[in-house]
Symmetry: C2
Subunit: 157 residues, 2 copies
């Protein structure tokens, strides 16, 4: 896939992240693309829903399964602004996602290239391809801005 | 925890697995226990729901978050009949589960002691303790019976 096309879809994932930011959630967004159409989208909702499973990727994958009416998301790609955690990387394997594109890596919880390399394990019954660094700066910036605002709010208090 | 107590709760997880079997799902069951009470239970529903996220553990964790009204499942333990996959092991970390007890290990998808050792990675911001082999034979047997029935049905066809 051309970088331009990957960047186009990552922009859509960033729009989801913006929604999270507007709701005081750590701004992470994800979309699932099938045949050049978005069939699932999600943004982090852990705090609003008080649910540890409400990561952007799981919400997007859940919608995609509903939309296609099947658990095997064959020929589907997922775009997410931050490197997936173990739960989300595992969900990509379980969903038979073809390829995941992520923006910034996550040195604290990433399970693709940072703390674990789950998608490099050939023993699982499906292999998800991956590419990081798509619109990396924007994906990093939106998170940094979010935490900067939180820190300045704390200082004012 | 005494083995007898762990076996008592695993029996409850096995009852969930039985429900899955009765619905032609691979029989895996899970429960979340908080202060000696079950606050979440689930059985594998991947086929019925056509959803790759509908593993027993995620369904049980989801119910537990709803019940407690918070995403941090502090002092909660999860019992599951089969070793968790990467998605479910990751969800245990994200939920701050105290300890996971599993029955049989899963050489094809297990992410605790088989294909990965996710819960041994000290770099994540929470460490989930684990113990396997609780009612191992029963947990293995219910799966073996399920696949034996499937194979004999295929032969009849």
């Amino acid at each position: 896939m051309s970088d331009l096309k990957a960047e186009y879809w990552m922009q859509k994932a960033l729009e989801q992240a913006q929604i999270a930011a507007s709701k005081d959630e750590v701004p992470i967004g994800a979309i699932v693309v099938y045949r050049d159409q978005i069939i699932g989208c999600g943004y982090n909702q852990r705090e609003v829903q008080q649910n540890s499973l409400s990561h952007a990727e799981l919400i997007a994958l859940n919608e995609a399964c509903h939309r296609l009416g099947q658990w095997r998301l064959i020929d589907c790609d997922l775009y997410v602004t931050i490197e997936p955690c173990p739960m989300c990387a595992g969900a990509l394997i379980n969903s038979r996602i073809r390829q995941v594109y992520f923006g910034a890596s996550d040195p604290k919880a990433g399970a693709v290239v940072s703390l674990e390399h789950l998608l490099d394990n050939f023993q699982f019954n499906h292999r998800v391809l991956y590419q990081g660094g798509i619109l990396k700066n924007q994906c990093q910036q939106i998170i940094q801005n979010f935490f900067q605002i939180i820190r300045s709010k704390r200082k004012i208090k």
